[in-house]
Subunit: 234 residues, 2 copies
DNA sequence: CGGGACGTTGAACCAAATCAAAACAGGTGG
DNA sequence: CCACCTGTTTTGATTTGGTTCAACGTCCCG
């Protein structure tokens, strides 16, 4: 869909970025490592549902989310879909040990990302231990989240899954007690390994037990964090 | 249980390893990066069900499996257990971005591991880009496996889960078509997010459809890899 | 040969899925 | 401003895959 967007990257800016890193890689020590993406990244924006990268395509870029929300997905032959993670502002994704992406990534909302060529990032990391350490750290944190999610999918009930989800989202994007979910019910269902109906019913149930209140389907207020924590086994 | 074993590590050998890495870290360039664990690691062995590390304890060591099989587990308050991964000979585990382990690890069978102090490994990695790259690679591969497992737990049926499991184990430890499972049914169930009964029934079903044959409960022969691949959605 | 751990099988049950329909929320255009 | 359309969410009725509960086999190992 937004393939043209992705492909145009190459023609537009990348070659100069490669030259840049080659010429400055040893001068990078003074640079703040957190800002490497900001300095080397090409800003790209994706409309809602735009495809940022596709499973089993060459993993040419690493991405950092500037704004918006991104989902990583895997799809089975018959269309069943699983969302592995949501990435929000500040999150880095697309780091692959092999040559190809191992999942697809799509914009949940309109999203702005910074794209850095994999080769550029690796070249930089080989010169700058702090940056290498940052990349490892990002990967290891993703792994921890994945392990938590494995526990959720393998052993938690629908009620526990939804409670965990709401608490996770509250931590990541709450402004004083209320949160605006960027994704629709189908995305939540595919993240939690449930159906939309079960997600909807469970939300309603949490509202009826005064754990949350649903301003609109996307806007949730935490009524009782302790209630959510209680229902969320841990 | 084997806490004494783990704790004795410190007294026994670690301090000398720290000195060693300090004195030789810059001389390490000629060393084969794959062998760093063999050179720096302290061999430790664990009996069946021995605890190698525990969730939320300080992540003091990184481990490499020499022989045997290890499971990583997370447990909910009420005892529900999820196995995140199995580690076999050659696998590295225990790499944590934070200061504490994020899961427990136990020996499924009698297991020999090499333990390297986290601080030692990180010190080495900061001097040796190849070793840093190796550690990142290990982490990123674990992440990919975790993502595949998330898909399995979120969206696959019991039959598909068991088929996927058998194919995975066949890839990792098959000798000409037959494989000897190191773990019991409860471990398989906790890995696949099922119950022992369902795992057992599903194995029986796969045998009755001539996809596998069960020599004993632990010894499986792949009768029809294509049959398994067919049942295993992907 | 007897006991305990592990594995299989059977029957009843239940949490979540599926199937179906109604309610809701934005847009768009008259 | 309202009527209409389309995509999304909620609610209801029914079904089902997998769990639970219960019993029986099997395999070691002393």
């Amino acid at each position: 869909m937004l393939m043209s967007n992705t492909q145009s990257l190459e023609a537009k800016r990348i070659p100069s970025a490669v030259d840049w890193v080659a010429s400055r890689s040893l001068a990078g020590a003074g640079r703040r490592v957190e800002d490497v993406f900001e300095q080397l990244g090409i800003p790209v924006s994706f409309e809602k549902d735009g495809e940022i990268c596709a499973e089993s395509e060459p993993a040419e870029y690493i991405y950092k989310v500037v704004s918006g929300t991104v989902r990583s997905t895997k799809i089975l032959d018959d269309g069943r879909r699983q969302i592995g993670a949501f990435y929000m502002a500040g999150d880095i994704f697309g780091l692959e040990p092999g040559d190809d992406y191992h999942f697809s990534a799509e914009a949940v909302t309109h999203a702005e990302v910074l794209a850095v060529k994999r080769s550029t990032a690796f070249a930089w990391a080989s010169q700058d231990g702090d940056f290498a350490r940052l990349l490892w750290n990002v990967t290891a944190q993703h792994l921890q989240r994945a392990q938590d999610h494995i526990l959720l999918l393998g052993r938690k009930t629908a009620l526990e899954r939804v409670a965990t989800f709401i608490l996770e989202m509250a931590d990541r994007l709450a402004k004083e007690g209320a949160l605006e979910l960027p994704m629709m019910r189908q995305d939540i269902a595919d993240y939690l390994g449930l159906t939309i109906e079960t997600v909807s019913r469970t939300m309603t149930h949490l509202e009826s037990t005064h754990a949350i209140s649903l301003n609109s389907s996307r806007q949730i207020a935490l009524r009782s964090r302790s209630g959510l924590n209680r229902v969320n086994a841990c």
